[in-house]
């Protein structure tokens, strides 16, 4: 796999990690009421505590029954410790369940590596995380594009 692919997968894990960190974001996102055009940053742990690990943003966040949040125009960017882009994830909407450690949506998900060399799309997704294990389910119509050969010649 080309370096872009490696970067992509590392970045994808970073996205997942950041959604794990989203349990902390749950306090940043509006638990009650309605928010528009919000953006929340997650930082690396020391010694890179000055660097943004991820930036989660949305056009709108609405509270749902059961402590859920309905996030519109979900967008997440992750960054390396040197500040360069790692992965960007976009979905039209996302239901965020911080207490269950789950994020899911039937909407279209687009994940792009920081250098643009890898794209993964899916109609619907579900992200589940536990203490030491996380998984991303790509529900339907998965399409991955690597801008170079997957296997080196």
């Amino acid at each position: 796999m080309k370096s872009g692919g490696k970067i992509f997968w590392g970045g994808l894990m970073a996205v997942i990690f950041c959604i794990v960190a989203g349990r902390n974001l749950a306090q940043s996102l509006p638990p009650i009421g309605h928010a528009q055009d919000f953006s929340t940053d997650v930082y690396y742990d020391p010694p890179n505590g000055e660097q943004i690990k991820a930036r989660l943003s949305g056009a709108e966040a609405l509270p749902l029954p059961g402590g859920l949040l309905d996030v519109k125009q979900f967008h997440m960017d992750t960054f390396r410790t040197n500040g360069t882009p790692q992965v960007s994830a976009t979905a039209a909407s996302c239901t965020f369940a911080p207490l269950d450690s789950v994020a899911y949506s039937p909407s279209h998900l687009l994940v792009v590596s920081g250098d643009g060399s890898v794209h993964v799309e899916s109609d619907g997704f579900r992200i589940v995380w536990q203490t030491n294990a996380m998984s991303v389910t790509l529900s339907n119509n998965v399409h991955a594009v690597f801008e170079s050969e997957l296997i080196k010649k």
Partner: protein, 182 residues
């Protein structure tokens, strides 16, 4: 068991490719690889990305279809070392080391493996079949079944075991005489 090694070039030398599988894309080296599937998942505990259902991979030199494709995601800085395609595996590919010879392989499973041991590169794709239905490789020159069937990418050759060869060439030439000179 006795393992027999055959250089595919020795079998297929000198003949041009006739269509034995789906059309290969006319693409230049360095172009993108695309994967489609019905669904998929990624598990960071096992570091596996799995594509499920009607999986189709299109690479400048390879077209792969199967029902499940598992990519073992490498650690940062490392090369992709393992891919596993399962169920109804069909691969059309070009081996540049064999003068751009084209192949059509069908199997129940295909495992790509890459490793470097003592500075020696090992890069193979091992095809296996089901009981009574071994992997098949088709070329313009013939069909070979073998269980397993190993494509040694590093060496640019196939390794056959308990193989059976069916040549497409006639033993007589166009004027009816045998081309064999005994």
């Amino acid at each position: 068991m006795k393992t027999i090694l055959i250089l595919l070039l020795a079998i297929c030398a000198g003949a041009s490719w006739s269509q034995t599988g789906s059309a290969l894309p006319k693409t230049a080296p360095g172009q993108k690889t695309e994967i489609w599937s019905k669904s998929g998942y990624y598990d960071n505990n096992t570091r596996e990305q799995v594509f499920l259902g009607n999986v189709r991979v299109v690479d400048p030199k390879i077209i792969l279809t199967c029902e499940q494709l598992t990519v073992n995601v490498p650690e940062t800085g490392q090369r992709l070392s393992r891919l596993t395609a399962e169920t109804n595996v069909v691969i059309d590919f070009v081996d540049e080391k064999s003068k751009d010879q084209k192949y059509h392989v069908t199997a129940a499973m295909a495992v790509y493996s890459y490793s470097v041991v003592n500075s020696v590169t090992n890069e193979t794709i091992t095809f296996t079949g089901l009981l009574g239905k071994p992997p098949l490789v088709d070329t313009a020159q013939g069909t070979i079944s073998s269980e397993p069937l190993v494509w040694d990418r590093a060496a640019g050759r196939f390794i056959f075991k308990d193989y059976h060869i069916q040549l497409n060439q006639s033993l007589t030439d166009t004027n009816g005489s045998s081309p064999l000179k005994l």
